[in-house]
């Protein structure tokens, strides 16, 4: 490697958990630092270098006009822009505001709402600038994060496994919590990467890694409602979660919510 790759980490509206996933890579971080110059990483160092960068990792969603401008600058400064986590990739938990009344939230929460400048929506980075790769997860998996940095380092196509959580369960011999116990589980429509953490502890998947590619959320929710007699009051919050705004989850959540309204069993 003739010259070290310059890495930057940027934060938008988020909890910092995905940046911590990078810091958690203790063993690999030292090896990484030998091959990568960590030029801008506020979570780890007060030395904030300027661009251009070879890789920009972007955490968080766009929720203010200022951030909407700042992401343009980040894009211009970076050769490869990778979003990390549910906020940056699908708007995050804060995208729940997209279903609510933003002005009302401000009035309820803040004594002086006029000081708050925020957008009415939380949107993923890809709604604002072209993104080279989206790493899903809330938070992202440390191994996958190091893996994609290694992909850039070694000039490989950036890639993580894009199968459902179910396959992860089955590879580990985990018994299906949905089939064997009737627990509502988003595993069949959720991207793997978590190691099937929840099903391993007898809980249903709540989709924190976001929808798997070509997720058939409609069929799963139909089954859960019609055959497993799950109520939309359970399923809508399950879908409207950390990846509420991810298209596959959003569509099914909205469809269920509309059905709920139609049946008149909403408060």
């Amino acid at each position: 490697m003739s010259q070290k790759l310059r890495l930057a980490v940027f934060k938008f509206a988020s909890c910092d958990g995905c940046q911590l996933s990078l810091l958690n890579a203790e063993d690999e971080l030292l090896a990484l630092a030998e091959q990568v110059e960590i030029a801008h990483f506020a979570e780890a160092s007060s030395l904030l270098g300027a661009g251009p960068f070879d890789i920009a990792l972007v955490e968080g969603s766009i929720t203010t006009a200022h951030d909407a401008e700042r992401i343009q600058q980040v894009r211009q400064s970076a050769k490869t822009l990778i979003t990390i986590g549910a906020c940056a990739t699908s708007g995050g938990i804060q995208a729940l505001r997209n279903w609510g009344d933003h002005e009302e939230f401000l009035r309820i929460v803040y004594p002086r709402p006029e000081y708050i400048e925020s957008l009415a929506t939380s949107t993923p980075i890809s709604a604002h600038v072209p993104v080279d790769f989206e790493l899903q997860g809330c938070p992202v998996n440390t191994g996958q994060l190091v893996g994609i940095l290694a992909d850039v380092l070694h000039q490989r196509q950036i890639r993580v496994p894009n199968h459902s959580v179910c396959r992860t369960c089955k590879l580990q011999g985990v018994v299906c919590v949905a089939v064997a116990r009737g627990v509502p589980c988003l595993g069949p429509i959720t991207q793997a990467g978590c190691g099937a953490l929840c099903p391993r502890f007898d809980r249903g998947c709540y989709g924190c890694f976001g929808p798997v590619v070509q997720a058939n959320a409609e069929s799963l929710t139909d089954w859960l409602v019609q055959r497993e007699h799950q109520s939309p009051a359970v399923l809508v919050p399950l879908l409207r979660n950390f990846n509420a705004q991810a298209p596959a989850f959003q569509a099914s959540g909205d469809r269920l919510a509309a059905g709920e309204m139609n049946r008149g069993d909403m408060p």
Partner: protein
């Protein structure tokens, strides 16, 4: 082979003790995670005594039987393939040194397993995988070593589930060979049949009585009752040709809209053998391992060609799975890839039943 023997229930623990004494690791059904799974046991106390399973499409529940029999259930989410063809296998390593790469095949540790409680459909599943891994040119040497080292103790099925259709696939419910020992559970003990020299070795110097004619008849009755209780059917007459004539049937689209493409059916299937090898390397890329994992034709990447999937919708992936299992398996291996165990029906999170879909697909198109 020897005449069938009778193993009194109180002597059953001795069978396990003999297996352990002879250096086998005994893998058997046991209750865990709300299901009857296959795991290593040390005594008969770990068997699912008094438990049965109730199965429907997309549904599995444990239920107490109120009796003290150990094998009054059908099959669960696990199959023996996870021991013979483990879901994760390291296959080779590449280590970079001064003079370049050194390549080595990883030699896996081979355990002497005794599989206790193998059903007739599962014996059939093993034979299907034998043909894939051993009998079609290139040999999966690790599979061969595991298979050779293992002992198969079959148990004739007494309580099939509502999703079983082994009678249609002619794989059960009675075990007709392919085992080292076979048991039929009666209230007072087991009829014990010896299928191989390795099976006979387990019983060496054990003073067991021959099974009486009455018990032999009772044993046969267990299988006849099991066969009679199986409701689900699949018409296998010309099935290969009938399905291959319907590759553009509109029903593929209909089932494609229900299928989640989640891979569960292929993971629980005792014959599905698809796998994928990936690179696992350190950050410096000096120490690289190749890892083989179970894969699935429902995985979008599985048909990737030049960066694009050949089967780019769920419809075509479901069609690939079903036609491979029931039709093109014949072209490739001279038999069906389905043994009628019903796992794919039970463990489908949306209860898709291939026997129902086949009936629809073989109907004349409108």
């Amino acid at each position: 082979m020897k005449e069938p023997l009778f193993l009194p229930r109180e002597e059953f623990p001795t069978l396990i003790a003999r297996l352990l004494d002879q250096g086998y690791r005994v893998i058997a059904p046991t209750v865990d995670q709300g299901a009857i799974v296959y795991a290593e046991i040390q005594s008969v106390d770990s068997l699912p005594r008094g438990w049965t399973d109730e199965q429907q499409p997309g549904r599995y529940r444990l239920k107490e039987t109120g009796n003290s029999r150990c094998f009054d259930f059908a099959v669960g989410p696990h199959s023996w393939k996870q021991f013979l063809f483990p879901p994760l296998q390291r296959i080779s390593t590449a280590i970079k040194g001064e003079t370049g790469w050194t390549f080595a095949v990883h030699e896996p540790e081979i355990h002497r397993y005794a599989f206790l409680g193998v059903r007739a459909c599962e014996l059939a599943g093993m034979r299907v995988q034998d043909r894939v891994f051993l009998e079609r040119g290139y040999v999966d040497t690790a599979y061969e070593a595991r298979r050779q080292a293992s002992l198969v103790i079959a148990v004739n099925c007494a309580v099939p589930s509502a999703n079983c259709f082994c009678t249609s696939m002619q794989t059960g419910p009675r075990c007709e060979g392919g085992y080292d020992l076979a048991l039929t559970e009666l209230d007072e003990g087991f009829v014990l049949e010896v299928g191989s020299a390795a099976g006979a070795d387990v019983l060496a110097d054990w003073d067991l009585q021959q099974a009486s004619a009455e018990r032999m008849a009772a044993s046969r009755e267990v299988s006849l009752n099991a066969a009679r209780s199986i409701q689900k059917t699949l018409d296998t007459q010309d099935l290969r040709d009938r399905l291959m004539a319907q590759l553009e049937h509109p029903h593929w689209q209909e089932v494609g809209e229900r299928c989640l493409s989640c891979t569960n059916c292929t993971m629980v299937c005792p014959t599905c053998f698809c796998s994928h090898v990936t690179e696992v390397s350190d950050l410096d890329q000096q120490n690289v391992e190749r890892e083989r994992r179970w894969d699935s034709c429902f995985h979008l990447d599985f048909s990737m060609l030049h960066g694009r999937p050949v089967r780019n919708d769920i419809r075509s992936r479901y069609r690939q799975w079903l036609t491979h299992k029931l039709a093109t398996w014949h072209d490739q291996f001279g038999e069906s890839g389905c043994v009628g165990c019903g796992r794919c029906i039970t463990w489908c999170p949306v209860g898709i039943d291939l026997t129902v879909e086949v009936k629809e697909l073989c109907r004349d198109q409108p």
